[in-house]
């Protein structure tokens, strides 16, 4: 038998409720309770009669066991975990391929740097006096460059559109599940989310985590449409709550709007 299955007892599991807190770490506590004094006070009752009475008292009839209900729930639970596993595997696979691409990019950058340094050293030895000009707005320029990157703009617009859908899903009754229009909307956004996940320029951990959580919720919204299982219908709102998705997406939209107030005008149309 695997030890993994074995519950790890501590002494408290064998102590009465009212003595548990009072006896931390006392190895003799299992025998400390006044068994002998109790024994002396108990009139003779045959063990077999006591056990028989206990069996009667704890009897659970066949009809009291909800076998089919438990089986149905068990199947649903397992199916959900299979879907979640598949999603995780897909995401992990994509992450691996992205990492391979990322590794190649790093190698290319390193090679460029090495060549650059070589050229620099060569030209320095031949150069006349030159003045190094520092660009005072470097960081602003980098930020502006990033803000003007089509991938970043597309992602920010995508998040702005997603907020509306997520708000709708949040406000719907989770037991009813999404309507056909919401499901279609989610399907469309799912396609864009996956394209953004495949975009190498959006590889920072924060963005990817947000996109991956969004992808999972969108998948669940699409799946919730075609099922009668209450767990599947509730899954999108539960995942949204657990991952704190809507506030995170909103925060991304707010940050984008602060950087470029004009972008929202095109995004929400």
């Amino acid at each position: 038998m695997s030890n993994e299955e074995v519950f790890k007892f501590d002494e408290n599991d064998f102590l009465p409720d009212d003595t548990r807190e009072a006896s931390p770490g006392t190895t003799s506590s299992l025998t400390a309770a006044p068994v002998s004094s109790l024994e002396s006070r108990v009139p003779h009752v045959d063990d077999s009669r006591a056990i028989a009475a206990a069996k009667v008292a704890m009897h659970i009839g066949d009809s009291e066991i909800p076998r089919e209900m438990m089986w149905a729930r068990l199947r649903q639970q397992r199916e959900r975990s299979v879907v979640a596993d598949n999603t995780r595997l897909r995401v992990a696979g994509r992450r691996r391929s992205t990492m391979r691409g990322f590794g190649a990019a790093i190698a290319a950058i390193a090679a460029t740097l090495a060549i650059g340094i070589g050229i620099g050293r060569y030209t320095q030895s031949h150069a006349t006096d030159t003045v190094a000009v520092s660009a005072p707005g470097d960081s602003a320029a980098v930020a502006a460059l990033r803000a003007s990157d089509p991938a970043v703009i597309a992602m920010e617009e995508h998040f702005a559109r997603t907020v509306s859908l997520l708000s709708t899903v949040r406000d719907e009754n989770p037991d009813v599940g999404p309507t056909a229009s919401v499901s279609g909307w989610a399907r469309e956004l799912l396609g864009t989310t996956r394209m953004l996940l495949d975009e190498p320029k959006l590889h920072d951990a924060h963005t990817r985590r947000l996109l991956q959580d969004l992808e999972l919720v969108l998948i669940q919204i699409v799946q919730a449409r075609g099922t009668t299982a209450p767990e599947a219908k509730r899954a999108p709102s539960e995942t949204m709550r657990e991952t704190n998705l809507l506030p995170r997406v909103r925060a991304a939209v707010t940050a984008a709007a602060e950087a470029d107030p004009s972008f929202l005008t095109g995004a929400i149309e």
Binding site: D13, V42, V45, A53, M58, M70
Partner: protein, 185 residues
């Protein structure tokens, strides 16, 4: 189909119709005892249902780890005991933080009734036992496990199982004493 053949099919790993059939067969064979054990330990039907499901899910996930060193039922019941005792411990901790202590004390115990009849007194006496002692008593005297099986399932020494059973019976006899005077004397 014998247990060995059933386990072989479950261990095949493929999510096929045959495996699903084997899972259902395995569930049908063991669900009653698992559910009864958990209900007797927890005293609440909602918890018993949830933890029975968890027991089978964990068993199906880890069936490949099962080695025929013990009976499959013992292996399965050790999972059930582990899940139940962990669940009870977690619930008590959680309830202790959010509810008055009087309410938390009722978790893991059979529902109490107003009429102090024999059946109620026995249930109360069993409910008053510490979880470990109650588990030993339920497994040995109600479910019919041997001390060796209990020892393996709970990860305690055989001697501990025996001494806890002695204590449980003593408490039970004390609870029955008034009725023994009236009805059995």
């Amino acid at each position: 189909m014998t247990d060995a053949v059933l386990i072989e099919r479950l261990q095949a790993g493929e999510a096929t119709a045959e495996r699903e059939f084997a899972e259902r067969e395995f569930y049908d064979r063991h669900v009653d005892r698992v559910y009864r054990l958990i209900l007797r330990m927890s005293g609440r039907t909602d918890l018993a249902q949830e933890w029975t499901q968890d027991t089978f899910i964990r068993a199906f996930d880890r069936i490949s780890q099962f080695r025929a060193e013990c009976a499959i039922s013992s292996w399965l019941h050790s999972i059930a005991v582990s899940i139940t005792l962990n669940g009870l411990r977690t619930l008590k901790r959680r309830e202790a933080r959010t509810a008055p202590l009087d309410d938390a004390n009722d978790i893991g115990k059979w529902q109490r009734h107003a009429d102090p009849d024999l059946k109620t007194s026995i249930k109360e006496a069993i409910a008053e036992l510490p979880p470990g002692t109650r588990t030993v008593f339920v497994m040995h005297d109600v479910e019919g496990y041997t001390h060796e099986e209990i020892s393996a399932a709970m990860g305690v020494a055989v001697g501990t199982s025996k001494s806890q059973l002695f204590r449980a019976r003593l408490k039970l006899r004390a609870a029955l004493a008034p009725f023994a005077r009236e009805e059995w004397a």
